[in-house]
């Protein structure tokens, strides 16, 4: 699986399916990175992997009115790591990134070594939601000796992609859908005055770690994270003014950073000029690579272009197809023209 030679996807949907079904929990991004490399080879002028595993693809060189721009889409996803395999073969685990016990029960997992398992739990004491410590992965082994997994083995949730027409559902839409935006933008970008670094970053879900070192390495003059954001459009949802289908979301702030207002206005102006629907995003709890870029070296003007996503951090994350297409159009438009406000 490491060096899957995959022809560039013919349709957007195929690419979403390919990237969401490729496992890549934080710290184990080697397969999803290989899958992205397959998609972008030939599109970028230079492709490299840095010390932490970030995939960095450069397109173009700075010309008149151009900037060094970092676009960051994290390719890691939440997952689990085995902490102990007991004498009867049950594997205890720790979460990688924000995993809720609610989404674990009955879940199926796929290990990087190919082993599979299901998540079970101890007998409930009272009605309280069980904690992750009370759960275990059953890989079908009858003893520790038989177990195909050991301490340190990493798995992601396993759930097939489904195309609901207007909406697409998969595990790890967070944030493979943004990797799709980046790849398609790289493909569509023909004329640009900018030196654009498309960073497919690692370890975002455990603290924006990859983007911190990637931003130092790229040393951008302008930065944009691509990520998903929560929506407030489901029954009795949390307070959030983003709706699926109303266009990509322009982040004003989240709990990790305040977007540079010039970057916010840059995106608004471009969306309006191209008559692309958009919505403003204020995310009360959550962070993105935008913070890591903003705080790099002596500071970088940074923002984030988001896609509304329902059921974030569950194995069934849902996005809107038109939002996806509009995000690509918006990003291509942004990167095709000079930036005159910096």
């Amino acid at each position: 699986m490491n060096n899957i030679q995959q022809a560039p996807a013919e349709h957007l949907t195929d690419l979403v399916k390919l990237l969401t079904e490729t496992p890549g929990p934080s710290g184990a991004e080697h397969r999803i990175r290989a899958a992205v490399i397959d998609q972008i080879s030939g599109l970028a002028d230079e492709v490299r992997t840095d010390a932490l595993g970030n995939l960095i693809a450069r397109k173009g060189r700075k010309t008149e009115g151009g900037q060094r721009i970092m676009i960051s889409a994290h390719i890691d996803e939440i997952g689990l790591m085995v902490t102990h395999v007991d004498e009867n073969g049950f594997a205890r685990f720790l979460m990688i990134g924000g995993v809720s016990p609610l989404t674990c029960l009955g879940g199926r997992v796929l290990f990087m070594n190919g082993a599979r398992g299901v998540i079970g739990m101890e007998r409930l004491e009272g009605n309280a939601l069980p904690t992750l410590e009370k759960m275990f992965i059953d890989t079908g082994a009858a003893s520790a000796a038989e177990s195909a997994v050991q301490v340190g083995d990493v798995c992601g949730f396993e759930r097939p992609f489904i195309d609901l027409g207007k909406r697409l559902v998969a595990k790890s839409m967070d944030n493979r859908i943004s990797a799709v935006v980046a790849i398609e933008t790289l493909r569509a970008l023909k004329e640009s005055p900018h030196e654009v670094y498309f960073v497919f970053s690692v370890q975002e879900e455990v603290g924006l770690r990859g983007a911190i070192t990637a931003a130092y390495g790229v040393d951008p003059e302008l930065g944009l994270a691509l990520d998903v954001t929560r929506t407030g459009d489901t029954p009795r949802s949390a307070r959030m003014d983003v709706t699926l289908g109303k266009g990509p979301a322009i982040k004003v702030r989240d709990s990790s950073f305040i977007a540079d207002p010039r970057v916010v206005n840059w995106m608004i102006r471009e969306a309006e000029a191209q008559h692309i629907p958009y919505q403003m995003e204020v995310l009360e709890a959550g962070g993105t690579d935008g913070r890591a870029i903003q705080m790099a070296r002596a500071g970088v003007p940074a923002g984030c272009l988001s896609l509304g996503c329902r059921y974030v951090h569950t194995p069934s994350e849902m996005i809107d197809r038109e939002d996806l297409e509009n995000a690509i159009r918006l990003l291509v438009g942004l990167l095709s023209k000079p930036v005159d406000w910096l």
Partner: protein, 364 residues
Amino acid sequence: MTNQENTASDFKPVLEEQELALLRRLTSALAVSGDEQEVREIVREVVSPAADQVETDALGNLLVTKRGKGENLPRVMIAAHMDEVGFMLIRDEGDGIFQFEVVGGIDARQLAGKSVIVGRQHIPGVIGAKAIHLTTPEERKRTLGSEQLRIDLGPGGSSLAKVGDRATFATQLKVAGPSILSKALDDRLGVFNLIQLVLHAPENVDLLAAFTVQEEVGLRGAKVAAYHFDPQIGIALDSTPAHDLPHFDGEENYRYNTHLDGGPAIYLMDGATIADRRLVRWLVESAQAEGIPWQYRQPNKGGTDAGSIHKIRAGVPSVSVSVPQRYLHSAAGLVRMDDCINTLRLVYGALTRLDASILNRQEN
């Protein structure tokens, strides 16, 4: 890159009288985060004859360079933190009675009744509590925290110490059969082992030894030390809890973190770092090749200096190795001498086998 003439057999770590004397000096020192002077001076004295360069940076890290033989050798930063958890005096109530706060993570239940030393002069004192004769059964169920407790230096104590002074447990190192009991084994064992590595440095690497400050309050010293050294590989030497006592209900203990006598604990993931898998494999293969016992530390919370090192500049592949220790962050931790020696053997052996091309390996 491997130097065939420089094998692990060149240096056989031991913990005998001379080594124990150094470890005793190190653990007896008072070096609560932010005031690591005592340990820094011991390290400087011991490593200076062997080092190529020794400097103290702006935050107090002691940065020691020991170059190998040759050009373009792998630049390996190894960090061990000099600071320990402890206390800071925050209010003088007169008569040698001081209010204090905890520096770093100490369970409040570890406080009452402990003898302490205060300040550079190691003034003896005690964290006192009301005698059992005078307490009610209800009172005895409550934990006394640092807000209810005082450090008592006795009459005249107010002239011997002042607000801002650090204090720590007064425990002195003791050898108990195959074990060592002491305060501050976290991370003087790491400091001790890193000193040994400087004194017996393999010649196939440029060893960048960072004796760091302020680890216990947020991995702060390692951050600037790593920026300074700009290494290609980062290793933190630390100590991690062993919660390996048997469960008395007969159930399997699946949350032990590490086991004493299990050998050096190699990290996979903690709260601050996902260990670089290439380095994990390098350590495991080295342990297997040299016949050194080893264990994985269970993926868990917590953090080591690797949490700072790996995020510096454009990124540094990093890993941690710890000596398993019972009763960490208390007045008396307990370690096995063999685990300590084997940790040094493992890191030394791995360094001698280091081929920088391991960083070109692909995961599968």
